[in-house]
Symmetry: C2
Subunit: 152 residues, 2 copies
């Protein structure tokens, strides 16, 4: 276990820890969503629509961190199953606003409660100030990563 630190040390790397935490969160979410017949992307899409009604396919894709092609496939299945409705004509440009149906809203309610309980579990060992720190630190990481991405 003692190596001469050539590259990234997985034991102490914040990048690795970030991936580990994200992976654990995703697994925990999948576990509670599975009994509800949902996966994480599914849930993310509905949650986005609940909080920001009328989002377009591309906007939903960005919010759920998938490509717009992937979101397009998902939206079709959600529309087929009666959870969302999409405008048939674009009010402006090509973007088609999407909205939750009552069925979609009902389905989301249980999922949202389940996900919230997972998030509370995740934060159960942290004090309020630590949670504030976490928020600030994560935002800084995101900002730094994106800033240099755009330069390149």
């Amino acid at each position: 276990m003692s190596q001469e630190e050539v590259g990234v040390d997985l034991e102490t790397s914040l990048g690795y820890l970030l991936k580990e935490a994200s992976s654990a969160l995703r697994a925990a979410m999948e576990e509670v969503l599975r009994p509800l017949g949902m996966n994480v992307t599914h849930y993310s899409c509905l949650e986005l629509l609940a909080q920001r009604p009328g989002l377009s396919n591309s906007e939903l894709a960005r919010g759920a961190f998938v490509t717009r092609q992937t979101m397009n496939v998902l939206l079709k299945s959600l529309e087929r199953d009666g959870y969302v409705t999409r405008a048939t004509e674009a009010p402006v440009g090509k973007a088609l606003p999407t909205r939750l149906t009552p069925a979609g809203r009902r389905s989301l309610e249980k999922a949202s409660a389940a996900v919230r309980s997972v998030e509370l579990r995740m934060l159960s060992g942290l004090t309020a100030p630590e949670q504030s720190d976490a928020s600030r630190i994560l935002r800084s990481m995101i900002h730094s990563l994106r800033a240099d991405n755009e330069e390149a």
Copy 2:
């Protein structure tokens, strides 16, 4: 943008921020690894083998946060391309130790440097104490998420 907070508020949710940060990190890593003909899982596997030579397929899978079936597919391609070698017989049990070849080690060197630069970029806006906080907070999140996963 002002909703009555029924479920998880995406603007302030630490779960969403975690996903966002992880997604940004992954994208940044993919970007620097692509010119080297590697993806993140690819790199993770080689990095794990560099730091812990002789890991088995299942151990590598856990370390890279994928299933052992997925890692098996990856290992086959890495072996075919001459980056790793796998024992043909299990010294104990069924686990087949895997090791980097010189070619694999050479390939990893550039990738490791690229990934390290991404990680430094991610941390560029944080002080040393903040980085310590981040480490402690992420470990706490991971622990809390896993603890209740096993109970269930």
